[in-house]
Subunit: 216 residues, 4 copies
């Protein structure tokens, strides 16, 4: 079980003869000068929703955090390890990124688990249960909306989760202060795996809409 996965070596070879060859100088410059990504994207681990793919972005463009269900925990300066908060701090304070996108997507397994009232822990540690607990009050409300279909409850919580992450982002002083000064922009986006549609969030109402209806 010890050789490196063949599929990944093949993919790497394809990268080297394709994109890397075309962008060799860009990679060198990025290595020398350091990265200056224009956007921090907080996205899900899901294999069907990679930000670089959906936004067709090249090296150096997106600083990307990926965790289950693209959650941001609230600001909690304690002695624990905070993967997402650390990445946020690095992006804003060190890389000076001033544009953040929280991107959710349809059919999210984490959201599905959060909505399942009978979900058992996946392992004794129940890490997913704890993690999705960040959405617990919302998940319970939506679970009770039995007039909505399972699919509708899923999409509703996916979008609530994006707004929740945006609200938690604002609990970080560095984000709040910069946004209040008009120097930072927060955005929400939701990708429909099935149709390929991208929905973006109206910052005022929190509603999601397709930016250019005739696009797809």
């Amino acid at each position: 079980m010890s050789t490196f996965p063949e599929r990944l070596l093949e993919g790497y070879q394809s990268f080297m003869t394709g994109r890397y060859t075309a962008e060799r100088q860009r990679y060198r410059d990025l290595a020398e000068a350091g990265q200056e990504p224009h956007t921090l994207v907080i996205a899900c681990c899901d294999s069907r929703a990679a930000p670089e793919t959906i936004f067709d972005c090249g090296p150096g463009e997106l600083f990307v955090v990926r965790n289950v269900a693209n959650l941001v925990p609230p600001y909690a300066p304690d002695s624990n390890y905070h993967a997402t908060s650390a990445a946020l701090e690095f992006a804003v304070q060190s890389l000076k990124i001033r544009q953040i996108v929280v991107m959710g997507h349809g059919r999210c397994g984490g959201i599905k688990a959060a909505l399942d009232p009978n979900a058992a822990p996946l392992s004794p540690g129940d890490f997913i249960g704890q993690w999705m607990g960040l959405l617990k009050p919302a998940a319970q409300q939506i679970q009770d909306s039995q007039l909505m279909t399972g699919g509708e409850r899923q999409v509703a919580l996916e979008r609530i989760s994006i707004r929740n992450s945006l609200a938690n982002l604002r609990s970080f002083p560095c984000v709040k202060i910069l946004e209040d000064k008009g120097k930072m922009a927060l955005h929400g986006a939701w990708f429909d795996i099935s149709t390929g549609e991208l929905w973006v969030m109206d910052p005022k109402s929190g509603d999601f809409f397709r930016p250019e209806p005739g696009l797809a």
Copy 2:
């Protein structure tokens, strides 16, 4: 500050007319049947090292966690939120992924911060300081290796960090048990942004080597 970033909308349009059009049916199938990614990749947030790009992987292939410096904390079943442990649990227990790659890269900003003895907290919360604290004993040892150049210390800690994450992965019972049964494979990889070289880890010695030297 409220309109969705133009660059991302353009990129999305390019995705829709390009890759999505070519893989429309695949996206639909993935939405219907659910994802069955072959590999969990634990990678860095760095904008120059997206796993999908480097391994040229399409939708549905890689389940991807990205945090600063591709760290895995040790198994700690407590009541805190654990972004990385939750993703690991979901990947192994729910998606039944049996192949994990920890991928580091050169010029890693998190590693650089961990090596700087004078690094001040980036913000009062000091989230990066706490997070990189996961590497503290190793970082201090390397800092003291004053016979190595700055560049050598950086690469050394980047590779130590990958081995450290692999060791922490094995502190999770589900990973340990499956690996011991020969049902799970763990791998390390390191990407050199400047040259585009991929180095993979020899599972026995922990050394990194280029799988096909004549390739690039």
Copy 3:
């Protein structure tokens, strides 16, 4: 205040020189032979969502009931006047229509009123209050979903209302019996006034989807 509205006379003249001239024989045949519409559409009174316009249907095709918020009351054989039940009975029993579409739409004023907890009666008779009372339990549930935006609550109730009308249609023995025999088909549809998108209901899950994503 007694002359017939000029705008309508002009519109009628345009109809006569246009569509009627082109379809003169069809109108005559329809007058002689009687109507045999293929579909009963239960739609809203809203001026922006006329079924004949949205489905581009000509004379003789659609038998159309329009009331506020496209509601169907449950089967109640009593001595009261039932506009919608009478139309349904006529369509199914006399015209032998075997295909029913309940069509809702975005920005529905009736649904909006049903969701407003402070809505005062529009007149002493409170006819809208009584009528939208058909949706009361659902409306209250959705009102409580304060994590959804106003726009999301509106769309959620619009779609619940369509499913509610379909369920009430099935409380009529004539519909239930024919459907159980596979001789009658019920459908749901939702029209987005803003984007022109038509969403149709999946009969199994009750979810709404765009029938051909690349269409618009």
Copy 4:
């Protein structure tokens, strides 16, 4: 029996590439600003007499109630559901519509049923019987006019029914008060399916005439 009717999807596609494309901005404006229809039309469900078609009206122009035989029940503020009264209340009190047209038509099936002395209930609920009961005294009188032909009795009751609906409209205080103040106008119209002729009602005498005899 579960796929959405093909004919309607085709019609919708034709709408999207035709009228919607031409009026895209108008639909968006109507969605943003809300509807301000100039006229409430109370019409029949008949597939051959859609008001938007006959008056060639676009989106946003006509608020349309359609029930069998375009009836308006008398004002009855009780606890029952009143589809037509609710729509009237919404049109006058919420949308501030000040122009109402009751439009009947030739060959009306509901009127024909009302005139048939041997008409059996269409179903045990006898909803059409109850509903057309709104015209019962008039229908009996006309049934007894044996010197008129069947066709003449039909047209006579169709027009009586329009006048009856107009009288019932005036039993609603909100309509009566506004009309007495000269702020509301009520109109009658009758459409001949066979010839395409539109007849409008003289408000004083109640007679129907063709507004421009040389037109058709």
